[in-house]
């Protein structure tokens, strides 16, 4: 089966700044791939390049076997994009926004209204059909931007931080829909800051840092490779770190307010608590966030 996305050495510079370097990866049909990275890592740049909204500076790229630099129109007919900004027409109503997009996508006139109604229902927005965009909550706007991308029944969905800045309930709804689409066999590329969501949903994740792909693999593989074992989180960081300097076999990450201690087995951490006489805030298996923090060496900005 040919790849949906095949990228070899794709790069982009804005003047002196290199936003993306040597992006090499391939995405198979039906795969759900997460794009992780701190702000400014090059996620949006890469996404923009995929559908021709950003011109790449070099490298080979094919999407559905076509080059986005010259055939973006044909690529975009098979693609749904949820951009980072909702980019909704504030002056128009929910329904008008959708109908306009249906027109942009070339849906037959006779089918537009039905398709719009169907999708608004799918996202529980049908009661807001006549409401102007500025009357919607942030979560509703995001949901609308999300279903708008489904209008053309695309083979692939690209979601640029679909859940950033939303409350947990809305985030849950959106991830549920992503799961839904994944089960329908759609190829999905999603950038996010929410590691546990990416871990739960994505077949593979790509970690981008300073424009470089620093890790690529299934969440399980990456955890096994970079941060195997279990993690204890202690709130009394200085105290814990001072006592721990003598211990061996443990990986300690002092993050100022908290200290993260990783050990091969849960028992090691339970024993450690006893030895230190300090109870950990949390004991848990290592997850993608640990991988991310290790690789990028940075904290996560939740909403920035």
């Amino acid at each position: 089966m040919p790849y949906v996305i095949e990228s070899r050495g794709v790069r982009k510079s804005f003047g002196e700044t290199e936003a993306l370097r040597d992006a090499t990866l391939a995405v198979s049909p039906g795969e759900c791939v997460g794009l992780l990275g701190p702000n400014g890592a090059g996620k949006s740049t890469f996404i923009g390049i995929l559908y021709g909204a950003v011109r790449r500076s070099g490298g080979d790229l094919s999407v559905f076997g076509m080059d986005p630099a010259t055939q973006s129109r044909d690529i975009k007919r098979r693609l749904g994009v949820v951009p980072q900004e909702n980019a909704l027409d504030e002056g128009l109503t929910v329904e008008e926004n959708m109908l306009l997009f249906a027109r942009f996508l070339g849906l037959p006139v006779a089918k537009r209204a039905a398709r719009v109604t169907e999708l608004l229902k799918y996202m529980s927005l049908e009661h807001k059909a006549g409401a102007p965009i500025h009357a919607l909550s942030g979560g509703m706007k995001r949901r609308l931007a999300f279903v708008r991308a489904l209008l053309g029944d695309p083979e692939m969905l690209i979601l640029d931080e679909p859940t950033t800045g939303l409350d947990p309930a809305v985030r849950h709804v959106l991830w549920e829909k992503v799961g839904d689409l994944r089960r329908q066999g759609k190829t999905i590329l999603v950038s996010t800051h929410y590691m546990h969501e990416a871990e739960a949903l994505c077949d593979r994740v790509i970690i981008l840092n300073h424009g470089n792909i620093t890790a690529l693999g299934s969440p399980k593989e990456l955890i096994r490779e970079h941060t195997p074992g279990f993690v204890a989180i202690f709130s009394a960081a200085p105290e814990v770190c001072a006592k721990l300097s003598k211990q061996s076999g443990l990986v300690v990450d002092n993050r100022g307010d908290v200290a993260l201690v990783r050990a091969p087995a849960l028992d090691d951490l339970v024993r450690l608590q006893r030895e230190l006489g300090i109870e950990a805030q949390q004991l848990r298996p290592a997850n993608l966030e640990d991988v991310f923090l290790k690789i990028t060496g940075e904290g996560l900005d939740q909403d920035a």
Binding site: S72, K76, L79, E85, A87, G91, F104
Partner: protein
């Protein structure tokens, strides 16, 4: 090519939908301004004036106002309007996720300023015709074309400004130093025939003056084939060259 035209038309439809939402508010200044000007200048000054180039002052003023309205509407649409769509509203970002590409956005926006120029010039002419200021009515059919060409030229100036400003306030520079001088010195408010040679030369190269003269010929039923052809060609050249310049610059701003 057919697809490009079709997709660029979607951009026009989008603009129309938004415009039509607040049609009365949107059309008010463009319709009211020329009426007020005609009232204030025309009726206010007429008693103090003899005829201007063989016309009562209101009749002299009328054709120019049809053109200046086209200029303002196109300039504002392509400057503030376009800039807001490009930056704050991210309208083009959304469009770019659909089969619409940067060429279609550009073409659509140019269509739109041309159409608005045509609409405004024609609308104002119709209103003025009601006051008997349009001598020979069939000539009104020329107004959409004059308005579209003026709109395209002045809209392109707005688009070029949109790619140069660092923030929305800087449009005032383009307004103060380009649009205002065009407005006041394009033979709309006073005849240039009595002015010094250097001034006449300046006026003659103004894109708005070409439109104003064509409009005067239409309003006054005073057709001069030679001049009409030259003015039309110069105006079309402005529209063409300026929109190409605008296209080149806008393309770089929209596709990074």
């Amino acid at each position: 090519m057919r697809e490009t035209l079709q997709l660029s038309w979607h951009v026009v439809v989008r603009n129309w939908r938004v415009y039509a939402k607040d049609f009365l508010a949107n059309i008010s200044p463009t319709a009211v301004d020329p009426a007020l000007l005609l009232l204030a200048l025309g009726m206010g000054l007429s008693p103090y004036m003899k005829e201007v180039e063989g016309h009562p002052y209101t009749a002299f003023l009328a054709p120019g106002l049809a053109c200046t309205t086209a200029m303002f509407t196109a300039f504002f649409e392509a400057s503030y309007g376009f800039y807001v769509k490009m930056t704050f509203e991210a309208i083009f970002k959304a469009m770019l996720t659909t089969p619409i590409g940067v060429d279609e956005i550009l073409l659509g926006e140019l269509w739109w300023v041309g159409i608005k120029g045509a609409m405004m010039a024609t609308g104002v002419s119709l209103v003025l015709a009601c006051f008997g200021l349009f001598t020979y009515l069939p000539w009104i059919l020329a107004m959409p074309f004059i308005g579209a060409a003026v709109g395209l030229a002045c809209g392109s100036i707005g688009l070029i400004a949109s790619t140069m400003v660092k923030n929305i306030d800087q449009f005032q520079l383009a307004y103060a130093f380009v649009v205002s001088p065009l407005y006041f010195f394009s033979g709309v408010f006073f005849p240039v025939s009595a002015a010094p040679v250097w001034f006449r030369v300046m006026v003659n190269i103004s894109p708005l003056y070409q439109g104003a003269r064509l409009s005067q010929m239409a309003f006054w039923n005073d057709f001069h084939a030679g001049e009409a052809i030259v003015r039309t060609l110069v105006l079309l050249m402005y529209a063409g060259v300026l929109s190409l310049m605008a296209a080149k610059r806008v393309r770089k701003r929209i596709i990074l």
